[in-house]
Symmetry: C2
């Protein structure tokens, strides 16, 4: 497989741009923190008005808005800034599809701080965060994740629910490991009115999931199991166990061990469904799934973005039968399901 | 003037990419620090060899190289990494046009640290660095600048020299304010064998300029004047005064005051030549010159990327006659020259 992106002619601008890309992340984070995209949406959009609305300086607002315009997040005409289609739909808090909260997770110190020591991380081969990095017990980043990533995960929930429930009707028992915001288990409860969900995560994270279950009207079928996926007794047996955005944090032997524990908690004819960023075998396509390995290098001791072959092998080592991989359209995610025999 | 870049359809991927752009800056900085591009150039380019050559872990090297491949800095084929045209020409230290050292300035803590507080900077309207930011007396960032930015400035030196010397022959006296690496004054000394150069900068920076003058064989016509451009006596009078990459650090009244001091040190028929990032009047095009305002917001108390109209007005307020603006081809820079009457 050839490389996905090669520039035809030498381009020094790519080097300068890339070295300064950190400014673009910072500008978008700052604009979200200042509630600038709400102010732009409310108008009239001149520097003096925006500075007043955001309780900020005119110099700062002017330079920030110009920078956001250059990089595709605002338009500028006659000295007034307005939304682009992207900022109107996904950055203005008045939009129902607003994603602005994801800046809290993607711009989290646990994500960014290790990148300041990336050469050292490449030397040592593991995160510069202490211990197991972001998967240390009760790491606070997962409360941020649960609070802030829901808008990004929400569009995935419905197709994931359909894939996972395929062939099941009536009463099913579901364990949602590393439930986070809880949206995936909650979606199953919504699609199957007889489903009972047990959500497992750190206690502080489960508070977020429980609140979301309440909002979704499924709280009476939503139960919680606080603790580590590696240590707690799962109870069971379950028809379905969800392992979403979880295996990538660990090395292959650890994943195999966990999949064995999961299998032991499944009924005959049950299934384990993982949601993963799954790059192609070349590990450099598609860009978003393949780039995810960098998050694992910087924030974990031994995690990775696993290919479908890697995940199939893990399931096989854990004695599952059939394994299927189903990409979720318009997302970088794939549902990889292992079936008990 | 309309905006330079508007996406036609809403694109949530742009938001996710931008929030994670800091990883791309970090990856390129890390690769340069690990001397990875030299190792790739030397071959054979497999993960085990590269890890050995860079004294790094295989996990780290694999994930870093995949990430650099995704983002256009390497190619990957059959598990081996090779240069792209860009990395071969501009990132491999064995290439005469290698720019890798610019990472030391563009990735300097004085550049990056304020971006971690950008919302606060936008509120207050000034850098989060103490005092006057990067232009505090003897700020160490300028020694890094002098050492590391020379490869990026070298291609600009010849056209700048031609613009500045236009109409002059024989003995000229040149003052190079904020000389940095010294390349611009040195170029004038090379183009005009009777030119005498006086370089002004912080004492530690002048050591770099002097070494460059020595290497260029013009040390006998190269003199130094350590101190602040605002405080030292320039001596003179001069035919030419260079003010390269300097005015943008200050507000307009400060620039006008400095241009008056410069004018007083020029002979009749002399000229002051500034080298600046000059955005169009819309301040959002062209992208590199316009984006430069963000560097000034984050690292100075009141600097800016000034338009040609701004710079003409400063020269006029400082009683210069004719003012010309000459963009340097294939660069984001413009030479703006004020002539004494």
């Amino acid at each position: 497989m050839a490389t996905p992106q090669t520039d035809a002619a030498p381009n020094p601008g790519l080097i300068i741009d890339t070295l300064l890309y950190f400014q673009r992340s910072a500008a978008l984070r700052a604009a979200i923190e200042l509630d600038l995209f709400r102010a732009v949406g409310e108008g009239p959009g001149d520097v003096a008005s925006l500075a007043r609305q955001c309780s900020a300086s005119e110099r700062g607002i002017r330079i920030l808005c110009d920078f956001l315009t250059i990089h595709g997040f605002l338009t500028k005409s006659d000295g007034r800034y307005q939304h682009t289609p992207t900022s109107a739909a996904f950055l203005d808090p008045r939009s129902p599809s607003c994603l602005a909260s994801i800046a809290r997770f993607l711009g989290n110190e646990a994500m960014m701080e290790p990148c300041r020591h990336l050469a050292e991380i490449v030397r040592s081969g593991r995160t510069s965060l202490p211990g197991q990095g972001s998967v240390e017990p009760d790491h606070p980043v997962w409360v941020d994740f649960a609070h802030s990533m829901a808008p990004m995960m929400a569009p995935i929930a419905a197709p994931l629910g359909q894939i996972v429930l395929h062939g099941f009707t009536g009463p099913v028992r579901v364990l949602d490991i590393a439930a986070g915001h809880g949206l995936f288990g909650i979606e199953i409860a919504k699609q199957d009115p007889q489903a009972e969900i047990v959500a497992l995560d750190w206690a502080a994270v489960l508070e977020v999931a429980k609140a979301n279950a309440q909002k979704a009207g499924v709280a009476d079928r939503y139960h919680t199991l606080p603790g580590s996926a590696f240590d707690v007794d799962y109870g069971g047996p379950y028809d379905i166990i969800l392992l979403t955005n979880f295996l990538h944090h660990f090395d292959i032997p650890t994943c195999v061990g966990l999949l064995k524990k999961v299998r032991a908690a499944l009924k005959p004819g049950g299934r384990c469904a993982t949601l993963e960023f799954v790059p192609n075998e070349d590990r450099v396509t598609p860009p978003m799934a393949a780039s995810f390995a960098m998050v694992m290098l910087t924030t974990t001791a031994s995690g990775d973005a696993y290919t479908l072959k890697d995940l199939e092998s893990m399931y096989q080592q854990a004695s599952y039968g059939r394994v299927t991989g189903e990409p979720i359209p318009h997302s970088p995610h794939t549902v990889v399901t292992g079936f008990t025999t």
